[in-house]
């Protein structure tokens, strides 16, 4: 009964019981902290340019890549409590694709790991930030039809122990999960085609006016 092996066993089992109980209490207690915060964000430019799919040699074929620049303002302070090890913050874009095969597409265009220490900045103010990950569509080319895309800001709280928590940061003004609606089209080209389209329309209008004058 009082041999050294049973003593060792008792100490060990007591230690593990206490450790797991404390861990369990910490894990449960982290659900009581409110994690509400808001953000504002918008798309500055979209550039669609051809590129190779990956960096590993000859496999990559040429396809369309979307390069995005955006603005983002948010305060992550409410996501940090004593059981937060880090916050993984990520911007996602959802866009429609080929309606038969891949109609719903979601990609991470930018992410940031914010560790829980005094040095980390928890307030973000990004202006004209280049998205870390230019993305291509799974089919190689963005579908020609509907290209309405949405921008969302999401987070994953990594605890020291316990459950991982995911969430979406809502828009400060509208309260919706979507920070910005945009069209997945090359902004420079869109402006150019708009301009040339306008010029053409103007030319046609003056021509029509002239013919009208002549008729009169």
């Amino acid at each position: 009964m009082h041999s050294s092996s049973t003593r060792f066993q008792n100490i060990f089992s007591f230690f593990t019981t206490v450790a797991f109980t404390v861990a369990g209490v910490i894990a449960l207690s982290s659900f009581v902290f409110p994690t509400h915060t808001t953000a504002t964000g918008s798309i500055r430019t979209v550039q669609i340019a051809p590129g190779r799919q990956n960096q590993y040699g000859t496999l990559g074929r040429r396809q369309e890549f979307a390069h995005i620049k955006f603005d983002l303002h948010t305060d992550l302070t409410p996501l940090f409590h004593y059981n937060t090890k880090q916050v993984f913050l990520y911007l996602t874009t959802t866009y429609p694709g080929d309606s038969n095969k891949y109609a719903n597409n979601t990609v991470i265009i930018w992410d940031k790991i914010v560790p829980n220490n005094a040095k980390s900045k928890t307030k973000l103010a990004l202006k004209n930030q280049r998205a870390k990950y230019p993305f291509n569509d799974i089919s190689g080319k963005f579908a020609s039809g509907d290209r309405k895309a949405e921008l969302r800001l999401e987070y994953n709280i990594q605890p020291h122990v316990g459950a991982l928590v995911w969430g979406t940061i809502k828009d400060a003004d509208t309260g919706s999960n979507i920070l910005a609606d945009f069209v997945l089209e090359d902004t420079a080209k869109a402006i150019k085609s708009k301009k040339s389209g306008k010029a053409k329309a103007d030319a046609e209008a003056t021509k029509a006016r002239e013919t009208l004058k002549e008729d009169l």
Partner: protein, 174 residues
Amino acid sequence: MLASLAALRPRQLASQILSFALVLSTAFMLWKGLSLVTNSPSPIVVVLSGSMEPAFQRGDLLFLWNRSPDAKVGEIVVYNVEGKNIPIVHRVVRNHQGGLPYTKLLTKGDNNHADDVELYARGQFYLNREKEVIGSVVGYIPFVGYVTIMLSEHPWLKTVMLGIMGLMVVLQRE
């Protein structure tokens, strides 16, 4: 040692062996039960590499859940590429779905600069959610799984531990 073994009556010896077998089968049943509940062939995994640092370090224990047919972008999944027998824990960075019966995923380790295409099979660019993903991470306990890394890196430890455990059970008088 041997003398004390010989001193045991056969009935007592049999009951000790039975209790040892009971412990083993209970552990096995719990594992398989958890596997059924979570719908994952391996509901608890140990992190083997530093590719998800600083979120996960080597030896951390992860609890998986595999009841959702989707794996959203931002979720951390464990996948097993067909033909390669190493489970990998990485984050989903792209998700493509639609008319096809399964969702296609692209994954990336937080600590890696490039995505996982290099880790997939030759010529494979996306994961199959249905076939290759064995669960997504829902819970986390740090460091506890380090024992298994020690055991797999130093196989003789396994024999030593099993031997000690067996002897302890057999030699216990009560």
